[in-house]
């Protein structure tokens, strides 16, 4: 019983780490660019499909290179979309315009993926690592979840160092505080925005690859993941990487535990958990 609980928790935490990574990308664009990027979910699925494509063409490719490939592809797409469209939309005073533009972009990307890759569910088969597992005290831990967790932690630590310790991070924080004054000080605002958008898309791609290894993805999966990312951001608080990680873990554990008892509920209990916390916060006045 205790062993089952620990195994479930372990799975929940690894999945939650991925949710945290997705949320961190969304929080990054919202915190810095002040844009709720509704095409974030599509970056997750595109990342997964790039990985599927890479593995199909080069079955021997090590998983690390698959991750690098997916990251690079989505970072490129995310950066280009920012430079070509979202940047223009941000010039409007109404913050809803860039959000609606990213929504339009999401619809386009999703259907482009359907047209090119088909609407079917795809799994990502990376060979040996998916089956390997460790036995500790009679409990079994998969190697893949462990890799996932390590990667999630690495993303969080890396992001935190990047933002707190580097010149780029300094510019990012300055822009987030006072974009106008940062521009006045000679910060290349648009360059920073494009880099941030690329980074967020790259993180989404990493998460997408790992999610595709756990379960299959279809072009329509992006919508669900976007909502999970959004819930992570709202629950964890903006600009708090630790909060995002904690919220991700909470939702991940809820999903794993609930699917154990109710296998065809999908994300129902995850969404309900989010909404319940929202109601509690609304009543206790900790929102708005």
């Amino acid at each position: 019983m205790i062993q089952t609980t620990i195994e479930l928790l372990f799975q929940g935490i690894t999945l939650g780490g991925l949710y945290g990574v997705i949320g961190a990308g969304l929080a990054l664009t919202f915190g810095i660019l002040r844009v709720v990027n509704l095409s974030h979910g599509e970056m997750i699925t595109i990342g997964a499909f790039v990985a599927v494509g890479l593995v199909t063409v080069m079955p021997a490719l090590p998983i690390a290179l698959v991750l690098v490939g997916a990251f690079a592809a989505c970072a490129l797409i995310g950066g280009l979309l920012q430079a070509a469209f979202v940047e223009r939309a941000m010039a409007f005073r109404d913050p809803m315009v860039p959000m609606l533009v990213t929504f339009g972009i999401a619809v386009i990307l999703r259907n482009l993926l359907v047209e090119t890759a088909g609407a079917d569910l795809r799994g990502l088969d990376v060979g040996g690592i998916a089956q390997r597992s460790f036995q500790i005290g009679g409990m079994s831990f998969g190697a893949l979840p462990l890799v996932t967790l390590v990667l999630a932690v690495a993303v969080f630590v890396g992001l935190s160092l990047l933002i707190r310790r580097t010149a780029f991070g300094r510019e990012v924080r300055a822009l987030s505080d006072r974009p106008e004054i940062a521009a006045l000080m000679g910060v290349r605002v648009k360059h920073v925005y494009v880099k941030v958008a690329a980074l967020a898309a790259g993180f989404a791609a990493l998460a997408g690859v790992l999610l595709a290894m756990r379960a299959s993805v279809s072009p329509y999966s992006g919508v669900s993941y976007l909502l999970v990312a959004f819930e992570v951001v709202v629950l964890g608080g903006l600009g708090s990487t630790r909060g995002a990680f904690a919220a991700g873990v909470l939702l991940g554990v809820v999903q794993i535990v609930s699917s154990r008892f109710d296998s065809n509920a999908g994300l129902l209990y995850v969404h309900l958990t989010f909404f319940a916390i929202l109601i509690v916060r609304a009543i206790s006045g900790r929102l708005s």
Partner: protein, 317 residues
């Protein structure tokens, strides 16, 4: 002048809806009913976002709820289907009140996506529980028996006349004190609240009306299909349609969403008959929406109107 216009609209709409219901054959009526439903949905999203300043990405929740409550109510009771058609929007409106009180704690983009989560929850709930239809969905069997009549003529009449009535009601509303307060609130919430406008109550009122309108649209649409499933009723595409149509036509105008809807249906029918896939169609609509947002964020109708104004010196609404 304006009052006459409203009466002419109502009378004309009644006559046209009645004539249409008798003249067209069922296949055409089905398409036209869908047009009317999209018009109603677009006008509701427009009321919420364009006039009320609340962008919601979860209006498909009310659309699906409208369809489901009608089917569940009519199938499990002896109350006639057409009574349920009137009652369903009222029930959804009542449900929208407590929901609004919760989601209004989320602001702007958070509100928009929070509503989307609500729609996803409803979809999952209806999908999950068999007494709500489950993944198989529900067939419309009023009072437990199969439908004995073909509903499309009556449904088209109700939808068409209902749409005209909604337009007239919105025209009257926007001229009223409350309507003017709403416009003031959209342009400057702080100033409006300083002038004594109860912003929260106004938001809630618009939210509830939009919920009722979307529910009515869902009820009407699914009577014509006679079958409802959660995957269809709560799908994103309903939201995408009402949103794109409003944005492309012109948010915050009554004419804009109508133009957007006509464009939407025309492009879809043209592309379908030319053999393009559904995916390609959505790519085109998405691109159109993005281009309009970036180049003419007020939408197409204000462009046409301004052009007309410059040529004739007259203002058209």
């Amino acid at each position: 002048m304006d009052r006459h216009m409203n009466l002419i609209l109502l009378a004309g709409g009644f006559a046209a809806a009645l004539a249409g219901a008798f003249v067209f054959e069922p296949g055409m009526l089905f398409l036209l009913t869908e047009v009317m439903v999209v018009l109603i949905l677009a006008q509701m999203w427009n009321l919420l976002a364009g006039f009320g300043g609340q962008v919601s990405l979860g209006q498909q929740a009310f659309f699906g709820l409208g369809g489901y409550l009608l089917f569940l109510g009519a199938n499990s009771t002896q109350i006639p289907l057409w009574v349920w058609l009137g009652v369903t929007p009222l029930i959804v409106g009542l449900l929208a009140v407590p929901l609004g009180l919760v989601v209004f704690h989320l602001k702007n983009a958070y509100f928009a996506v929070g509503m989307w989560v609500v729609a996803e929850i409803l979809a999952a709930v209806f999908m999950r529980f068999d007494f709500l239809g489950g993944s198989a969905g529900i067939v419309l069997r009023p009072g437990g028996a199969s439908m004995t009549m073909n509903p499309e003529r009556l449904v088209f009449f109700i939808a068409a006349f209902g749409f005209v009535a909604i337009i007239v009601a919105l025209r009257l509303f926007l001229k009223s004190t409350t309507g003017l307060a709403l416009l003031g609130m959209r342009d400057s919430p702080d100033a409006a609240s300083a002038c004594g406008v109860d912003v929260r109550r106004m938001h809630l009122m618009v939210f509830v009306i939009a919920a009722m309108g979307c529910a009515a649209g869902g009820s009407l649409y699914y009577i014509t299909t006679l079958y409802i499933s959660a995957a269809d009723a709560f799908q994103m595409n309903w939201l995408i349609v009402m949103m794109f149509v409003s944005i492309i036509g012109g948010l915050g105008t009554l004419t804009g969403p109508i133009i957007g809807t006509l464009l939407f249906i025309m492009i879809r029918e043209a592309m379908t008959s030319a053999g393009f896939s559904g995916g390609t169609y959505w790519i085109v609509m998405g691109a159109l929406a993005v281009v309009v947002l970036l180049l003419a964020p007020r939408g197409l109708w204000p462009l046409i109107r301004d052009f007309h104004f410059r040529k004739t010196g007259r203002v058209t609404r």
